[in-house]
């Protein structure tokens, strides 16, 4: 049996009332709020977060591939999935790929992973999708967009939703686009884009896959597919394919709480659907953009045994409302800010970043074979490989020890107004990990008032800075919520 063996999601902690856009620019506010990636987040970090949520206690070494979908990658030339594979602790002999440019990249990657499993070239592939698209400030498009991510582990054992069929159509219509040099989305008149695009191709694909497998709408418990800003179009597309409103995975909750998350939209809706799915349910899942990919999923008994995870529900419940639209402009780099009055930092050294990639990106430390002490070293001079045990002095007699999925408690902290950061004060913590090990980290997604000695934190993969075009990633701590 081939199918989904686990799912996960990620929604940034920070949310902005759409009303704040109107306060800044005037005009009309759409209802609800949008999820806004923090200044230290991007598609790669959100993809890692969703993947961690998905993996739970799955051994990363058992995963044979990582497919990452985004239309907002940090690089035009340089793979994101390779960064994520180290962050997630995957083996070296895995297949990694980035899927991009299309808003249905999430379902394209899902289909590609399914095909690889069917072909027997992999037994388990992690498929993640994350997006953080930008529309120019002041327009209605900006209000509708949100940031988020979803992840699925596809495999052959402990399948919670079997993939029973797939079907794709390709359609050429530049409804929305970003040219290679564009920061912001461009769109053609939305009535035409929807009339001749979305509202045609969604019913066509849903009807097409049912015809291909000899099924009809009554054979499905749920139909799950992405929605445009105008949610009424979503319902009409489902109806056009013969579905009753009660069968439709509603898009409104995600739109009102998160916004449209690009190629992660359909995957996030599927996570939502799986959160309330029961064994035996049959789900028709589709994602649109330059065509449509559609899949037939059959939920199995194994879904009842899936370990708890945050998913969409958990992430929706944990949020911090932003009090300023300006912060959004700054975090996205849309407006320049006065630089701190000090000389620039010395540039990071790519050779050092490469040399220390496992410590930096993977949060690997050591456990001393002689005295058993676990250690991680991210010192001031460099994150150094540990060659000599800090406790017993043993040399090079260690086993690898990973800290990225371990909880920790704050041993000490400060909120530093002198350090130049995008969201002052700079909250820094010294944490003691469960099971041993101590290290300093930036504290992110925090409300300074809620921090105390003893506060429980978890590790989260974040972008530390962009330096000569290099996105430099590492881990930060954040309060467990």
């Amino acid at each position: 049996m081939i199918g989904i063996t686990a799912y996960g999601a990620y929604i940034p902690w920070h949310r902005m009332e759409r009303q704040l856009c109107v306060k800044a620019w005037g005009g009309f506010a759409m209802p609800g709020e949008k999820a806004v990636a923090f200044f230290d987040e991007d598609s790669v970090t959100m993809g890692v977060a969703a993947a961690l949520d998905c993996m739970g206690d799955v051994d990363p070494q058992t995963i044979d591939g990582l497919y990452f979908s985004t239309t907002t990658p940090p690089y035009k030339e340089k793979q994101s999935a390779a960064i994520m594979a180290i962050a997630l602790g995957l083996r070296r002999d895995v297949r990694t790929a980035d899927f991009g440019t299309s808003l249905r990249a999430g379902t394209i990657a899902f289909g590609a992973a399914h095909d690889a499993l069917k072909a027997g070239t992999a037994k388990s592939i992690l498929v993640t999708a994350a997006d953080m698209r930008l529309a120019a400030p002041g327009g209605i498009t900006e209000q509708g967009l949100g940031d988020g991510a979803a992840a699925f582990l596809l495999g052959t054992e402990n399948v919670i939703a079997e993939i029973q069929g797939s079907y794709s159509i390709t359609d050429e219509l530049a409804g929305t686009w970003r040219a290679a040099d564009d920061t912001f989305i461009r769109s053609w008149e939305d009535r035409m884009v929807l009339d001749e695009g979305y509202s045609v191709i969604i019913p066509e694909a849903l009807t097409g896959i049912m015809k291909k497998y000899g099924l009809s709408p009554k054979d499905f418990t749920k139909v799950v597919f992405d929605s445009p800003v105008d949610g009424r179009r979503h319902g009409k597309a489902a109806a056009a394919a013969g579905f009753d409103a009660s069968q439709v995975q509603e898009p409104f909750t995600l739109f009102l709480k998160v916004g449209l998350t690009g190629c992660a939209s359909a995957p996030m809706m599927l996570v939502s659907a799986l959160e309330s799915a029961k064994p035996g349910d049959r789900i028709l899942y589709a994602g649109s953009g330059d065509g449509v990919d559609a899949f037939i999923l059959r939920v199995t008994d194994a879904i009842t045994k899936l370990s708890p995870r945050r998913g969409i529900k958990g992430h929706l419940a944990s949020k911090k409302m932003m009090d300023s639209y300006n912060a959004y402009l700054v975090w996205r780099g849309i407006v320049p800010q006065e630089e701190a009055r000090r000389p620039p930092k010395t540039p990071a050294r790519l050779s050092a970043i490469w040399r220390e990639r496992r410590q930096q990106l993977g949060l690997w430390g050591i456990k001393c074979r002689k005295c058993g002490t676990v250690q991680y070293d991210n010192g001031a001079a460099a994150t150094t490989p540990i060659r000599i045990c800090a406790v017993c002095g043993a040399k090079d007699d260690f086993e690898d020890y990973n800290f990225s999925r371990r909880k920790a408690k704050i041993f000490s902290y400060t909120h530093d107004n002198l350090a130049p950061v995008a969201d002052p004060p700079a909250s820094v913590v010294l944490v003691d990990f469960e099971g041993g090990g101590r290290a300093f980290f930036d504290l992110t997604d925090r409300d300074p008032a809620e921090i105390a000695v003893g506060t429980e934190v978890e590790m989260t993969f974040r972008r530390m800075q962009v330096n000569r075009g290099l996105s430099i990633y590492h881990w930060k701590a954040r309060p467990v919520r």
Binding site: A340, R341, R342, P343, K345, T346, P347, A348, R349, A352, I353, E356, Q360, T373, Q375, Y376, D377, N378, G379, A380, A381, A382, T383, A390, V391, F411, S412, Y413, T414, H415, D416, N417, L418, A419, P420, V421, P425, A426, V428, L430, D432, G436, G437, R438, A439, F440, F441, D442, P448, V453, M464, Q465, N467, I472, Y473, H474
Partner: protein, 389 residues
């Protein structure tokens, strides 16, 4: 079996510039002014110097910065850097060379032109990978205050008041010192109401950022009779560099500095001191932040562990107390031109021993301790110098 420097070398001349934001002065000005004063004080000329040790963190280019400034006549000049202990390191190098019998007269000079660095603080230190947590020096010392308050059950208000008294005391002394950068009295209320730099440390918990230089002429002890000044003998020179395990293993309490404790023990042993609280007449310690001075009092065994608050409240470390600390105003009022600080800390005892400290004069001091601490509390290089008559 390590030897001892005790009473083998003596300081017979010293100089110290005005400290402050000396926009109109560069490293050359600072070096020339400090060394000229030291030479005049010892009544010698540059040609009498046989070798030079210079200490600086940011402002030097090998030994040449000093040889160029002073137009030295082709002398050996060694530039040393040991973080905030660079000044002490220069004294140590010069003292050991003299004690070894290689030279008779050496110059130690420490200097730093911090205010060319373009910021109110120390220049940013980024690690090679660009992934260092975003904390300033006030931040990492603030975390020691957080631990100290937590461990000894002090509310933030109680803790900040304890630390505030340290700064009030140092400002009182600094106001009496014409060479200090910050020369004014402050009140506890001002300290407690000041803007927060890094919680829980506020503006007055942090030392100034200044330019400055200081210099010392070091000679063999048996030569002191040929100099007019009352000699100040070096009793101990100890340095302890951290294995920096405090940030990696969970048994470090972050309420003390192990390296300071160990450097203190080694220095007391070298100087033959058995009861530091009784035998030390005065101390200049590395009060980069108020919390640093507080824990240093415990690390150097002036106060029992966890009980420095009692001594602070009793006035033990005030100018009129039994063990004056920072009689010159400390880093708090002098600021911390890195390479200069260690030698500036010896300048005050030098004046005090010779009865030249003016309104700050302590009655009949015998033994003085100078303590430098570079880098973070969990990863420092600490030096302890003891001098006496």
């Amino acid at each position: 079996m390590p030897g001892s420097i005790k009473d083998r070398v003596a300081i017979v001349g010293m100089g110290c510039t005005q400290f402050g934001e000396l926009w109109g002065k560069g490293p050359t000005d600072l070096i020339v002014e400090a060394v000229s004063e030291a030479l005049a004080d010892a009544e010698i000329e540059i040609k009498d110097i046989q070798a030079v040790w210079s200490g600086t963190l940011f402002s030097g280019n090998g030994g040449r910065t000093v040889s160029e400034a002073l137009r030295l006549p082709y002398l050996p000049v060694t530039r040393v850097e040991n973080a905030c202990g660079s000044g002490h390191e220069a004294v140590r190098g010069a003292s050991y060379a003299v004690a070894a019998g290689i030279y008779d007269i050496c110059l130690a000079v420490g200097y730093e032109k911090l205010k060319d660095e373009g910021m109110s603080g120390l220049p940013g230190m980024q690690n090679r990978t660009g992934t260092h947590y975003e904390s300033s020096m006030p931040g990492v010392f603030a975390m020691m205050a957080t631990r100290y308050f937590n461990r000894y059950g002090l509310s933030p208000q109680e803790g900040k008041a304890m630390l505030g008294r340290i700064s009030v005391k140092s400002h009182h002394n600094g106001a009496l010192n014409p060479k200090a950068h910050l020369r004014r009295e402050i009140t506890l209320e001002q300290v407690l109401n000041a803007p927060i730099i890094a919680w829980p440390l506020g503006l007055f918990d942090c030392c100034g950022v200044s330019d400055g230089a200081a210099a010392a002429i070091i000679v063999r002890a048996d030569m002191v009779k040929s100099f007019k000044n009352r000699p100040v003998y070096v009793k101990a020179l100890q340095i302890c560099a951290s294995p920096t395990s405090g940030r990696m293993v969970t048994d470090y309490d972050y309420t003390h500095v192990e390296e300071a404790y160990r450097a203190g023990i080694a220095a007391y042993k070298e100087a033959g001191i058995t009861n530091p609280r009784k035998e030390v007449s005065m101390a200049e310690v590395h009060d980069c932040f108020s919390i640093t001075e507080a824990v240093t009092m415990e690390d150097l065994q002036f106060s029992p562990r966890g009980r420095v608050k009692e001594d602070i409240e009793a006035g033990t470390f005030e100018l009129t107390g039994p063990l004056p600390v920072q009689p010159d105003g400390g880093l708090k009022c002098f600021g911390h031109p890195i390479g200069a600080s260690g030698i500036r800390m010896l300048y005050e005892p030098y004046l005090q021993f010779q009865g030249r400290a003016g309104k700050r004069q302590i009655k009949d001091p015998k033994i003085a301790l100078a303590h430098n601490m570079g880098n973070e509390p969990y990863a420092p290089v600490v030096s302890v110098c003891i001098v006496g008559v």
